[in-house]
């Protein structure tokens, strides 16, 4: 079936089954490989994208339910002021180990900071608990979010 979705500000037309998850449309049809596959059932957060501004797990969203809502992926997040700040903070804090989860982490963090400009540790826990980092770079993820928010970072990981 043909679907037209709005991805990173551009209308894209695809012809796929309606139950194909947004993740696989992005990765294998639109060649946007930044969103990652980790569990397939919304438990790990590696596939996180924004749908109408909300952080969602694209592995569990069929293309038929996307409709006209704007899809923003890691490839497009630099175009938003918050997204660019989060990416810069991630580099500044040198968060990455293997890096596989970090697109999802950045997308969840950008969604958090868009709604809550000065998050508490509790806000960070709540917004980020759905994103597994198997390398456990959590101290630095927390530090990078605080840095992007312009908060003092007493936590480990920031030089």
């Amino acid at each position: 079936m043909p679907y037209t979705i709005l991805v990173n500000g551009t209308k894209r037309s695809v012809d796929v089954d309606g139950d194909m998850p947004l993740l696989w449309v992005l990765r294998d049809v639109l060649e946007l490989k930044g969103s990652k596959f980790g569990c397939g059932v919304g438990l790990c957060g590696a596939c996180t994208v924004h749908l109408g501004g909300e952080a969602v797990r694209s592995c569990s969203i069929p293309i038929s339910s996307v409709g006209a809502a704007a899809v923003t992926t890691i490839e497009g997040i630099a175009a938003t002021p918050v997204g660019a700040k989060v990416q810069a903070a991630w580099l500044d804090v040198d968060v990455m180990q293997c890096g596989y989860c970090q697109a999802g982490q950045i997308m969840s963090a950008a969604a958090l900071l868009t709604k809550t400009a000065r998050p508490t540790d509790g806000d960070i826990d709540q917004a980020m608990a759905g994103n597994i980092c198997r390398c456990c770079t959590y101290s630095r993820i927390r530090a990078a979010i605080k840095k992007a928010a312009g908060l003092r970072t007493a936590d480990a990981g920031v030089r």
Binding site: K36, G38, D94, C98, Y100, R134, C135, C136, S139, R140
Partner: protein
């Protein structure tokens, strides 16, 4: 926050056993893994790299690792797979340092598998630092010497009058200077210096090593660029899924492949007949389709009749029953006997007995197993996220009946390894399926495939006994280790060294082992063996310390005694030899100081501190965990303090801290929520709803301190993990008075309200 403490106690005259230890260990290790080959491989090739078609015609190849462009840009090859341990940045830093390049002019390229050029290329055992530190410094220094020789010849001056600084050769007497880019062509023609007598920099001269250098791929990662195996795209590529028997090693009897072939988007569906080696190609059904989603949907309709084989009779409950029965008897084989434990138990003031156990656990790297393969004209090209491309190429060659030279392996960035990708089952599957499909194929496993077809950290059972004399000194210790294996062969990563701590420090000691048969595949998981044995021995020593009425720290220090090197025992595995008691004492004292160990009694009810230490992968780590146990029994790690001694130089402090923090949190995650249950010969758990990697809301701050000692630098991927598990369990005891003798920690056993 990372801090460095330069130890004052590490000063010892040359020739003391400690000094001998570090050099001997490193040289042995280098030779074992092809360090010599590496040096030979770096002999420069005067070759226009343009011939390879990869670089601009003017780039000059100085040696196997270094290319220099006319504009001075230095390209350094990263030889090993990058699995998140940071070697793609760290090893080139070492070359760039001695080359005296400016880091801003350095570009890094991932090497393909080519052992003739680069030596052994793998990611395992925290070995990249000890194996490559000295050889790669010499690679860089040789390049620098040739650049200097080229400049000296051009100016008609003595090389000794020249110096270098950040990519430029200088001649201070005349004020002349030439950039590396201008000199590279001439430098490549210069005589190769004797690698053994090259002058290396002193640590005070380091400009790159010792600086926190961010990961070289990080800008691409935050932008979502394709880097990982799963991101590989080849023109004309098809997508595959592969279903194996849920019972390990089961065989296909029949499958509805004709019906599957008729499904939308499916190009091929066929039975693969594999062998009996669980590390190789196994029986299964492959579905190859136009998209991975189409292949996955078709898989839901797959009907396979299996011959499950003998492993179907195995279960975790059965293993526990059999282990309990064996534990009552004598060990089937002895690992080590010192003194006379029987007499010591008879005379002891206090004897303790305890049974400890731990489960199978999976690796669960976040990137599911995958591989892309393209078979053409008798050759196969492979793109793989693997920790050991060489053994993968050998497996592919032997399984497909090809020469290994006809297997090309491109190493992609790897979305987590943890030891899982030292096995290359997914690689041989992809190669086989691609050959059968006659097209390039990307094989991608699901999370369920990954969790249910792993090479698990083996479960284990320990029946321990320890004795204290009237002064609270440990006088006897025995362990009957019930583990897995067949005949005399212990299952992969299920062994115990005769030198297992505290062997050599207790006068009367008896380690023995009995084996249970096992059809479940096992393998190395981050800090193999140590990740389980540290829990067992460091927890039981804590029990003994409390029984002796002693501060556990004091008990440990008394056990270590005077500073000396315990010789490795016969049969000791590389990561577990030559324990230096003074280095262990050093990290214990440092972590005690940093954690406020002495003031632990002031903590509120339900909160406690636990301490543990462990030596593995040539690194010494002591760790303190503060844990709080809620009335519900839920355990929260509040904070971790770590002191580590990995030698004289922390090469990249940013990555070093990251590795240590990650290892500690990984260990806490495993202790709190990870187990694979075997039932009817298959893994029960299949996703992150039943196996729980640590999440950010559970992750405590981890304070890392390095004790700098006078030993050659060693690796950091693993050694910080083992002690955190017993430190956490000992903290739970301090908080509740309840001893954790079985992992994962069960909150129901800790419930107080």
């Amino acid at each position: 926050m990372t801090m460095f403490a330069r130890s004052t106690s590490a000063r010892a005259p040359a020739g003391t056993p400690r000094m001998t230890f570090s050099r001997r260990t490193i040289l042995k290790a280098s030779a074992a893994a092809g360090g010599g080959l590496l040096l030979h491989a770096t002999l420069p090739v005067v070759a226009r790299a343009a011939a390879s078609g990869l670089v601009s015609p003017a780039d000059v190849t100085l040696n196997a690792f270094v290319r220099i462009a006319p504009d001075g840009i230095v390209t350094i090859m990263a030889k090993n797979p990058e699995i998140g341990q940071g070697v793609k940045t760290m090893l080139p830093m070492v070359i760039a340092e001695e080359l005296d390049a400016d880091w801003k002019d350095v570009r890094i390229e991932q090497a393909d598998l080519d052992a003739a050029k680069y030596g052994r290329q793998f990611a395992g055992g925290s070995t990249a630092t000890p194996l490559n530190w000295d050889p790669l410094r010499r690679v860089g220094a040789a390049g620098r010497a040739m650049l200097v020789a080229a400049a000296a010849e051009a100016w008609g001056v003595a090389p000794a009058e020249c110096s270098t600084a950040s990519g430029v050769v200088l001649h201070p007497p005349s004020g002349r200077k030439l950039g590396y880019g201008a000199l590279a062509g001439k430098a490549a023609m210069m005589r190769v210096p004797d690698l053994k007598t090259l002058r290396l920099k002193t640590p005070k001269e380091f400009k790159i090593v010792g600086r926190p250098i961010p990961g070289v791929d990080s800008p691409l990662i935050v932008a979502g660029k394709p880097l990982f195996g799963i991101d590989v795209a080849v023109p004309g590529m098809l997508y595959a899924v592969f279903e194996k028997c849920p019972v390990f090693g089961g065989k296909v009897v029949s499958a509805n492949t004709d019906a599957i072939k008729a499904l939308p988007g499916v190009r091929h569906a066929f039975v693969v007949k594999g062998g009996s080696d669980l590390r190789g190609l196994l029986d299964g059904v492959a579905i190859v389709a136009e998209s991975w989603w189409a292949a996955s949907k078709a898989r839901e309709k797959l009907k396979i009749s299996w011959d499950e084989g003998p492993t179907a009779a195995e279960s975790s409950a059965g293993f526990a029953r059999d282990a309990a029965r064996l534990g009552k008897g004598s060990p089937a084989q002895s690992l080590r006997r010192d003194g006379d434990v029987t007499a010591a138990y008879a005379q002891a003031a206090r004897v303790l007995e305890a049974a400890y156990s731990y489960p199978f656990i999976p690796h669960i790297p976040l990137e599911p197993q995958n591989c892309t393969a393209h078979f053409r004209e008798g050759k196969v090209e492979i793109w793989a996220p693997t920790q050991d491309p060489g053994s993968g190429a050998a497996l592919v060659a032997s399984t497909l009946g090809m020469a290994q030279g006809d297997v090309t392996v491109h190493m992609t960035r790897v979305g987590g390894g943890f030891g899982r990708r030292l096995r290359n089952d997914y690689m041989v599957e992809a190669a086989w399926i691609a050959k059968a499909a006659g097209a390039p194929v990307k094989l991608l496993w699901t999370r369920q495939d990954d969790m249910q077809h792993d090479f698990y950290r083996p479960a284990g059972f320990h029946f321990l006994k320890g004795a204290l004399d009237g002064r609270g000194k440990l006088v006897a210790l025995s362990d009957h280790f019930v583990t897995f294996g067949h005949g005399d062969t212990v299952a992969d990563s299920a062994t115990m060294s005769p030198g297992e701590f505290p062997a050599g420090l207790v006068d009367n000691l008896d380690y023995g082992m009995s084996l249970l048969p096992l059809g479940v595949p096992t393998g190395p998981l981050r800090a193999p063996r140590s990740n389980a044995l540290a829990f067992v021995f460091q927890s039981f020593l804590d029990e003994l310390a409390h029984a002796a009425g002693k501060d556990p720290l004091e008990f440990h220090l008394a056990l270590l005694g005077e500073g000396r090197v315990l010789p490795s025992s016969p049969g000791a595995r590389a990561p577990q030899r030559d324990l230096d008691t003074e280095r262990m004492r050093g990290v214990l004292e440092l972590v005690a100081e940093k954690s406020g160990w002495a003031k632990r009694q002031a903590l509120p009810k339900g909160t406690g501190l636990g301490i543990a230490s462990y030596f593995s992968h040539l690194g010494y780590f002591a760790e303190v965990v503060q844990a709080t146990v809620a009335p519900s029994g839920a355990v929260k790690a509040d904070k971790v303090w770590i002191a580590g001694d990995v030698g004289s130089q922390i090469i990249n402090p940013s990555n070093a801290e990251n590795q240590v923090q990650g290892a500690a949190l990984d260990g806490i995650g495993a202790a709190l929520g990870q187990a694979i249950t075997i039932d009817r010969g298959r893994a029960v758990e299949a996703n992150f709803d039943t196996v729980f990697p640590l999440r950010i809301n559970q992750a405590p701050p981890v304070e890392v301190h390095f004790r700098i000692s006078d030993h050659s630098p060693t690796g950091l991927g693993e050694p910080a993990l083992p002690p955190v598990v017993p430190a956490l369990c000992n903290a739970v005891f301090a908080a509740t008075g309840k001893r954790i003798r079985k992992l994962p920690i069960d909150p129901a056993e800790l419930k107080s309200a």
